[in-house]
Each structure stands twice: as structure tokens, then as C-alpha cells.
């Protein structure tokens, strides 16, 4: 592990009333890593993600982004330099695709001509047809297209870090597969550091370099898929059993077509 993590959580706690959403949790995410945080609903994974760009403020512990304690950084400036992909897009319904994508550069006072060029570049990057989609309103897009716009918006201000809140959860399987593959490729090409939360272990195994498993605000285990399978924790093993069983059943049910 490198000496200076891109995102560092050290003994972080956050409570909502009597509920401990994040409980003395420490986790480092290295530059260029793709980390998936896996857990059921109420496990505290969304809270953990939002602590990083101060959409939620921690009660205790230290969070660093690119080596800086986030408490010493203006939260608005912090959010502008971290891309955030919202569950089911979070696109502004009254703004066109182009205006949605260009919002963060606009907030950063980037000249309009530069924003236009950047929007076109991003549309190409997320594989949306420029002329067909630029001026549409979000309501005129399919779910998959909306999430592509959401990804483009997160990348618009050239962030080094992207946080994703169940980005592909609401999509149909085919779209989901295509989109997650495309994003994985973007992550590599742009040298991003990505933290994605998901409740789906299969998705985490297929996309992430490293998986962190959360339950009741605590970090149960972390590591590569292979390392996780050596875990002695019952819950972690239970989570891994599902994709395994699915693979076995798929292999049994689907005849192999053609030669490899």
C-alpha cells in the first residue's frame, strides 16, 4: 500500500441519533484503485461514501483526500474536484443534457466555449450521440442514457476521484453490463480513483480491484476477491456464495456455444 492514500478514513464515526451508521472505521484507498464497498441496506456504505466529499460530516476520526484533512478544505471546493455519480442519475430535470454535464465547470467559471467543447468530448467518451442528445431534457432519455449523462457530469471538471452511489442498480441487465464495462474502461484510461457502493457482490467482483465489506457500520473484511474468499467471516463467505452458486447453475443450464 502506498504511503499517501488518495482517500483515507482513520477511526471514523458517524451516528444518526442512536444509530451508529459508521463505527470506528479505517480504510485507505490508493491512487488508481477501483474499490467497491459492499453491504446490505443500513450497513452504512452510503454514509461512508458521502463522508468523503462532506455531503455528510463525520462525528469523529479523520478523513483525508489527496493527503489533506477534509475538515481543512472548503466543502464546496472539495465537491467540485470530486466526481459524484448519483443513484439513478440525479440529473436536473429542467436542464438539457449539455447543461447538466457542464454544470460543475460552469460553477468553476470555465469559459462557455470551453464548456461546450468539453461537453462534446464527454458525450463521445460515454458513447452518446452528440447531435441527438445534446439539447434533450433528461426526461427524454432512457435509464441507461441518463446514467451515461450522470457519469459524464461527474467527469466534467476532470476530477481525479469519482464516487459512485449504486450507479447501475436500477438498470436492465444488458444496459447494466455494457455501462459497467464502459466505465471500467474509462477508469483505466483516465487514471481515476473510483469508490463505488453496491449491494451486489457479483458486480463488485467483476468491476473492482478491491472489495470492502460493511455491516452495521463496521468494516468486516477487505481485499481482492481472491483474498476475500479466504476470509473466516461467515457473512463475507455468505456474500461470496451467491455469485459462486450463480456461476455453477449458469454453467449447468447454458450449453457452451462454439469453441473458445
Amino acid at each position: 500500500m502506498p504511503s499517501r492514500p488518495m482517500i483515507g478514513y482513520a477511526h471514523v464515526t458517524k451516528s444518526f441519533g442512536p444509530l451508529k451508521a459508521v463505527d470506528d472505521l479505517s480504510l485507505d484507498i490508493a491512487e488508481g484503485e477501483f474499490v467497491a464497498i459492499v453491504g446490505g441496506s443500513g450497513s452504512g456504505k452510503t454514509t461512508l461514501l458521502r463522508l468523503a466529499n462532506r455531503l455528510i460530516e463525520a462525528d469523529g476520526g479523520t478523513i483525508t483526500v489527496e493527503g489533506e484533512d477534509v475538515q481543512n478544505v472548503d466543502p464546496v471546493a472539495l465537491r467540485r474536484r470530486i466526481g459524484y455519480v448519483f443513484q439513478s442519475g440525479g440529473l436536473f430535470p429542467h436542464l438539457s443534457v449539455a447543461d447538466n454535464i457542464g454544470i460543475t465547470p460552469k460553477l468553476l467559471d470555465v469559459p462557455a466555449a470551453d464548456i461546450t467543447a468539453r461537453v462534446d468530448e464527454l458525450l463521445e467518451l460515454v458513447q452518446l450521440d452528440r447531435t441527438a442528445h445534446r439539447d434533450r431534457l433528461p426526461e427524454a432519455l432512457s435509464g441507461g442514457q441518463r446514467q451515461r449523462v450522470g457519469v459524464a457530469r461527474a467527469l466534467a471538471a476532470r476530477p481525479r476521484i469519482v464516487l459512485m452511489d449504486e450507479p447501475f442498480g436500477a438498470l436492465d441487465p444488458l444496459t447494466r453490463d455494457a455501462l459497467s464495462e464502459d466505465f471500467r474502461e474509462l477508469h483505466r484510461k483516465l487514471g481515476l480513483t473510483t469508490v463505488m457502493i453496491t449491494h451486489d457482490m457479483t458486480e463488485a467482483i467483476l468491476l473492482a480491484d478491491r472489495i470492502a465489506v460493511m455491516r452495521s457500520g463496521k468494516l468486516l473484511a477487505q481485499g481482492t476477491p481472491a483474498e476475500l474468499s479466504n476470509s473466516s467471516d461467515g457473512y463475507v463467505l455468505e456474500l461470496l456464495r451467491t455469485p459462486r452458486r450463480q456461476v455453477e447453475r449458469l454453467n449447468a443450464l447454458l450449453p457452451r456455444s462454439g469453441a473458445a
Binding site: N53, L55, V76, A77, R79, R80, Y84, F86, Q87, G90, L91, F92, P93, H94, I103, T104, L107, L108, L137, R153, A157
Partner: protein, 519 residues
Amino acid sequence: MSFFTDPRWDEALSHLADYLGNHVQVSLAALALGLAVSLPLAILTRNRPAPRALLLALASIVQTVPGLALLALFYPLLLFAASVALAWFGVSFSAFGFLPAMLALALYSMLPVLRNGITGLNGIDPALIEAAKGVGMTARQSLIMVELPLALPVMMAGIRTAAVWVIGTATLSTPIGQTSLGNYIFAGLQTQNWVFVLFGCFASALLALAVDQLLGLIESGLRHRSRPHTALGGIGIAALVIATLVPTMGRSSQSYVVGAKTFAEQYVLSALLRDRLQAAGLSATARSGLGSSVIFEALKAGDIDLYVDYSGTLWANQLHRTDIKPRAELLAELKTTLANDNITLLGELGFENAYALVIPRKRAEALGIRTIADLAAHASTMSIAGDYEFFSRPEWAALQKAYGLSFSAQRQMQPDFMYAAVASGEVDVIAGYTSDGLIAKYDLVALDDPRHAIPPYDAILLLAPKRAGDERLQTALKPLLGKIDIATMREANLRASGNDANSSPDAVAKWLWGKVGGR
């Protein structure tokens, strides 16, 4: 004569530019002020439930006050504020007309704007507010770039409701001196000119409808994010406002304003005075339908230049006197006292319009009633009706005291309906006016007042302080002094109470001038 070729339509139409322009002007100003106050309040309280509830409760209470009462309330309030401002800061403003009307209407417009503003801002998907924060917006940017645009359609619906309310309620601002489409309705009701009443109702309904439809177009444009709809509605509203306002602009403010109270005789006399001034080559307009105390204050402040009042009215209401003096003495004292306020009592017109207790002639004969003293014996089984101010006037107290009057019931009525009511037996006695033509028409008698409880009510011509030395004005008016006797005025009033083309104040004023001076 057919309904549609009635010349009163033309007369109504000739006032349209003036009334409509002023109506739009006061409505627009009230709405703008209402929005300027309530939108920031809606924004400020959007995340604060306690002040928000308080604000909505206050606005709801304002809404329960009848429009007419709210408008009437602002006049004394501003009068007081104006006197304080004059005493403390040496500046004065007019508590008459535009200002009180605009403030009352603005207050009236606040509830729908507040309620829809708050509903709109609170109805936004929290995920979008989170997203606004997430992409790096400050709270202010989130408000301007996300929350307000998303709440706009709901807000617009509130503005639309407010606009329709304000336009409707503005018709009630006539009695406090604001010209509006209500001038048709008030004048029409007083002079039984149903053409005017209909015209005023239709004109204000049409205006409200047009504004409602155009704002509706903007609202639906915003809701469906259709720029052409929004733009079309906006252009329509702008065109409407410009078209109604332009004709009233650039009007000479140098012209003389003749005031009139809210009954037919006053409408006729103000038309007569206006005609006389115009005949003398002076520019003059009439401002009708003013409340009895509003009109005196308006004269004092110079908002109107002249009007006809009655000596007994001023004696009781302005001098707060309860003693009764002989006619000439009372007039002389009144003249001196008014002069202290720089108001000129130019002279008497020649007739008296006193309050009188009036009953049907047949009933009077049957019961042997000739004076109020005779009436007193029967009063306990009788009901009495008076106009809206009579029972709160000192004359009523004086009458009760002098004759020991005690009626079984008392009712307030629109003056023009009183005579028919007493003639039909709906009430037994009315407090009528001696100059009213309806006394003869319905075969009624005015009872004698042997104990002189009611002061004399000579019709007198008053001039505003700024017209004290105006020779041209006074020369133009002098031919009227002492020329109108009670029989002539009664006949004029009877004509004005008719419901035909010759009964409009303008027509009766011309007839009256033909009788008293012109040929």
C-alpha cells in the same frame, strides 16, 4: 330604444381608457409589491417550519377580512401615518387613492403567493437538492439554479391566483379614491344605471379572465418546459399592460378634480361642476364614489380640488359639534372654521339636503303623524332603516334624545333602495334625504322636526386650500350659487334615479344647467 343602442354604452365606453388604465396600474403595482414581499418570505422560511406556519396563519387571517373592509382600513391607517410623518419629518404624502389601494391589495395578494411558493420549494425531490450540493453548488447557487426553477410552475400558479384576486378586489378601491373599473359599478348602483353596472362587471371579469389565461399559458409553458408557450404568455401580458397603461400616461395632471360622494345627487352635481369648468375653458375631471370622510380629507390634502358638501355634515363630522345653531349662524361659523384649514366655502347652491324621517303619506294620515314627536308614540312597534352612516352620526343620537325615539329594529340600507323599502312596507320609517326625488315618486312625507334636533344641511361648494386664490375657478362657479332650489334638485334627483338614457349623471347635469342658468 333598444338595449344595445342605449347611449349609456357610449358614455361607459368613453371612460374605459381612464378606468381600465388606473385599474391595471394599481393592480400591477399591488401585485409587484405583494410578490416582492412574499417571494423572499417564502424562500427565507422554506426550511423553518415554525415561522412558516406563523406567516401562513397571518396571511390567512388577512384573507378572511373582506376586501372592502381591508381597503377601507388602510385609509385611516395611512392618514395617521401621514400626520405622524408630517409632524416628525416635515414630509407629507397622500393617504388617498393609489397608496392605500395598492397597499391593501398587495396584502391581499400575499396568501396565494406565499402558500404556493412554500409548497413549490418544499415539494422538490430531496435527491435533486442533494445532487445540487454534490456537483458543487453553494446553498445560494442551489436555490437559484435548481430549487427556484423547479418550484417556478407551482409559484406561477400562486401568482396567477393572486392576480385574479387583486384584479377583482381592485373594483372595491373606488370609495377610497382610487379610480378603477369599480367606478362603473359604484356609480351605476347609486344612480340605478344598470348599463354602467353591467359594463363594469364585464370589463373587470374580462380583464381577470384575460390575465388568468395569459398567466396560465406561462404556467403551462414552465411546467412543460416549453419556451414558446412561456414567451407567448409573457408577450401577451406585456402587450395587455402596455395597451391599458399607455392611454392614461401623459395625461395632464393640471386639470381640476371634482369630487363626488356615493349618491346620485353628488354624481349629478359633480358632473355639473365639471361641465361648468370645462365651459370656462378649464380642464376638469370628476372623481366619483368617494366615502363621506374620505372626500373631505382628500380636499384638505389637495387630492381633489372642489366638491359639494352639506353644512350639517361638516358641522357634526369635522367640527364635532352636537349643538344646533340657526342656519345663517351655523354657516358663518363653519366658514370661519374651514378657513383655518385654508378651505374656501365659496357659497350655498340654494337647496338643503337634510336627513329627515320619512314615512308613506297614507300611513302618516291614518295614524295622524305629522311630526317626529307624533312618531315617537308609535316608534316602539316600528322598524327604521338608514344609510350606512346614519346610525353612527350625532344627528341620530340627537334625534333619539330630543324625542325619546326607540324603534323595534334598525337596518342599514343602500340609500336608493330605502325609499322602495318604506313604500312597500318592508320597513316602517326611513332616514331619507329631503332633496331626494323619490319622496315624491313613492308618495312619502318627510316629518317635521319641531325641536330642531337635525341641523340645517345647506349644499355648499368647497374649494381645496391650493385653489383659495384661483379667480378663474371661482368665476366659473359663481353662476351656480343660490340658483338650485329644492324643487329643482328633487326633480333632478328623480330624473337621475330613472333607468333610461336620460338618467345618466351627465344627462341630468345638462338638464339641470338648462334649468338654472343655461339656455
